[in-house]
Amino acid sequence: MSCCMRDAVTLEARGIPTVILVNEVFVPIADATAALLALPQDYASKNIVWLPHPTSNKTKDQLERLIDERIDEIRGKLMGRAALSNVERKTASNGDPLEAARVAIAGLTASLRADGADLALEGFRDGVLSGTLHVGNVTCDDGSCILPTEQLERMVEAIVRPKIDSLRGVELRELR
């Protein structure tokens, strides 16, 4: 999906508004790629239309329905007056920072679950977001498919920071 974003940026630089369809599970990758490409913080919300993951197991009718439900958003984002996507709507509808953080990392959480781990955010106090990483029966032999806790903390912080102005840090406890 990072290549989709790079293509979009190339086309934007040529003066062509470009909208990307992306599965929600790739929110963290989109955020990381946007940072690498020095894109504005609101790039994803203005130019990406999120689809529920996975799409690969859906029928043609189901896939077309996904687009039917989002065509106003696609049209709006092409014209720069986008309606909020489902992901953004969930974030915007709740002023609770902990809930906003949980919504923001939903894609990351789904990725971790696919590898046999679970990340639960449990508190937000004095600007510090806390939670627990439960590492269960991971899908790789040596556990290397799960990022070290320190790296996950930095990743969560990067994803959540644009959503919570008062965020000072992230502390995760690892349970194996």
């Binding site: 999906m1 990072s2 290549c3 989709c4 974003m5 790079r6 293509d7 979009a8 940026v9 190339t10 086309l11 934007e12 630089a13 040529r14 003066g15 062509i16 508004p17 470009t18 909208v19 990307i20 369809l21 992306v22 599965n23 790739f26 990758i29 989109a30 990381a32 790629t33 690498l36 490409l37 020095a38 894109l39 504005p40 790039y43 130019n47 990406i48 689809l51 993951h53 996975p54 799409t55 690969s56 859906k58 043609k60 896939l63 077309e64 996904l66 687009i67 039917d68 065509i71 696609i74 049209r75 092409l78 014209m79 720069g80 007056r81």
Partner: protein
């Protein structure tokens, strides 16, 4: 033994790229549809193109050789003749 680990996300850009001005309407615009060849991308993009064509956009379809690489220059040039583009699938 030592290993060199490459960052798969590619290089970092230091300055913010410019984003294109948005059109006020879609009627009469050339719509580029860039399929990155990921599974189901053609169905999703095809449906979007079909619906946007009902707004008066005129779709033209392009496909890049691999979803894991950026579009080659000839594909970008093909799309550069369009007014707006949709692409995918990030999936």
């Amino acid at each position: 033994m030592s290993f060199v680990v490459h960052d798969p996300r590619g290089g970092r850009i230091a300055t913010a790229p410019s984003l294109a001005a948005r059109p006020k309407a879609l009627a009469g615009l050339k719509l580029g549809v860039l399929d990155n060849t990921k599974e189901q991308a053609d169905i999703l993009l095809g449906r979007a193109a079909h619906l946007l064509a009902q707004d008066g956009a005129k779709p033209t379809f392009a496909q890049k050789p691999s979803f894991s690489r950026v579009a080659p220059p000839e594909v970008i040039e093909q799309l550069a003749m369009c007014d707006i583009v949709i692409t995918g699938l990030g999936g």
